[in-house]
């Protein structure tokens, strides 16, 4: 499994950070991309660069799965601007949680509401754009490429839910555990005890450390608690400069950066 990071920022893209170490695009990483398949997590602005590289003529691999953890901007904001979504030959499957707005289709629909975006509504209108499937996930598993991807809902105190992901490479038995949207460390430390066993002992643990109170000590504690081989953190706030991010890094704790590739197998 090859993990490639295309955008690592939370909330809002930060163009000025593109001149720094970590990058300014919002969330996107891929796990296994080739001519036939693409397994993608998050659709922040990093996905625009990903698609420009993956599909320069806007034709996507036959099986393109996009896994969405939640509907906050950094997870979905690129979707209306993906030229590939307007090509009828493409097939894309969006996998994500339900929300108070409804299933995945209804939840993503805000992106293309007329008041926000003048593009055709490729979610609702069948003859517009790519063939789109929606898969609602909670505590579920799905196969994509040679991977088995399991989700688990992490409830926040405001009543919203983010999906955590366990990405298992069946070809080599290694796995990545991904826990997004850690807005408040105190709340997370209360909630993390409910996470199932599959999030422990991961070869790589990826954490969405968007709290402004993220520190090296907190991340080290997470690595010990989850018994991960390596801990990678991302989803940095817009105001988090390179020095602040770097101060959280140490042995086996690494900040994700645009262009970074991790080979698990």
């Amino acid at each position: 499994m090859e993990i490639a990071f295309w955008g690592v920022r939370g909330d809002i893209p930060v163009p000025e950070a593109s001149l720094g170490v970590y990058g300014g695009n919002t969330l996107c990483f891929t796990a296994n991309v080739n001519e036939k398949e693409a397994v993608i997590f998050e659709a922040g602005t990093g996905l625009l660069d990903c698609f420009a590289t993956l599909a320069p003529e806007h034709l996507l691999p036959e099986c393109t799965d996009i896994f969405i953890s939640s509907y906050r901007p950094e997870h979905i904001q690129s979707i209306p601007f993906l030229n590939s979504m307007y090509i009828s030959k493409n097939k894309v499957r969006f996998c994500g949680p339900s929300s108070e707005a409804g299933g995945v289709n209804r939840s993503l629909g805000i992106l293309v509401r007329k008041c926000f975006c003048p593009v055709p509504n490729f979610f609702d209108e069948e003859d517009v754009g790519a063939e789109i499937e929606f898969l609602e996930m909670a505590d579920d598993s799905v196969n994509s490429s040679s991977l088995t991807i399991s989700s688990y809902p992490l409830a926040h105190k405001d009543g919203t839910v983010s999906l955590c992901w366990h990405i298992d490479d069946n070809s080599c038995g290694k796995y990545l555990a991904y826990i997004p949207d850690i807005y408040n460390w105190h709340d997370f430390m209360e909630a993390r005890a409910n996470l199932p066993d599959k999030f422990f002992g991961a070869d790589v643990l990826l954490m969405g450390a968007c709290s402004e109170h993220t520190s090296r000590a907190l991340l080290q504690e997470q690595a010990e608690f989850f018994k991960s081989g390596r801990l990678v953190f991302w989803q940095f706030g817009a105001d988090a400069g390179d020095n602040v991010i770097k101060s959280c890094e140490c042995d086996k704790i690494m900040a994700a950066r645009e262009g970074m590739i991790i080979n698990l197998c």
Binding site: P13, Q77, C115, T160
Partner: protein, 302 residues
Amino acid sequence: MKLAFWGVRGSYVTAAPRFSGIGGNTSCAEVYDGSNTVIFDAGSGIRRLGLKLANSPQGHISVLFSHTHWDHIRGLPYFAPLAEEGAIDLCSIDIPGIEAKSTIKLEDVLMLQQDKIYCRKSPSDWKADVTFRYLEQGKACDFGSSTVTAYALNHPGLSCGYRLENKDGIIAYICDTAPSRDMLLTLCPKGMDAKRYLHELWDNQMRLAADADAVIYDCFFTPEEYARTPHFGHSCLDDGIKVCRMAGARNIFMYHHNPSHDDASLMSLERLYRACFPDISVRLAREGEAWEIKGGRIYPWK
């Protein structure tokens, strides 16, 4: 008065080094007349403007929205003055004859943007005293020592430009707009003929830019790009120059840059148009640059 650009990009933020010279944040322009601050649009560029205003207040703040497409509202949840005590006006246009059921009010759009499903920052966290103002089209409204007049523009949905006037000069903010020659893209007032309304929208551009010292214009396309996608709702610099010539405006800022136009291509366009149209002063709007407008002239802000 000071005119400063905090976001000059259209459609979506471009966060890559090849865009960093001109800028990757989406639409946001600041005008400070010495006592009050007027901000055109709340694209992602408003985040950094807000950090500056939180440290160095500039009087009452008004944010004037041209429309509510993502690139013009993206930054509002991260606008720091909303979390501080103070008065902020959030403004849009009111066009008589546009049926209420065919539009969503600015206030409702922003509340939806910041619904907890979609945003971790909530309007309930606002400490500022926020007032929503809907400016009647064509009517000059007071904004401190400036007046602002709004006019509808030709862009999908409901879009408008603003004309700001004070003792120092006139600024016209014309974005987003398609040229009013090919197709009507915006909502047409009830009972009005579409062709006639298209002419009216062109006249609106004239009203906005009449004798303006600075015209900030939607230059998303090159002429070749416009010919391929005229329904997208944007213009090219040729249209802006035509407006300036007919309206008596002498300075135009190319704005709302296409996310596919990198620094090199934009600077090449600027050079080309300066050479082709020496009667109009053509400048690229660049993120981080500020200008002083005084006595009908434009100077770099010091």
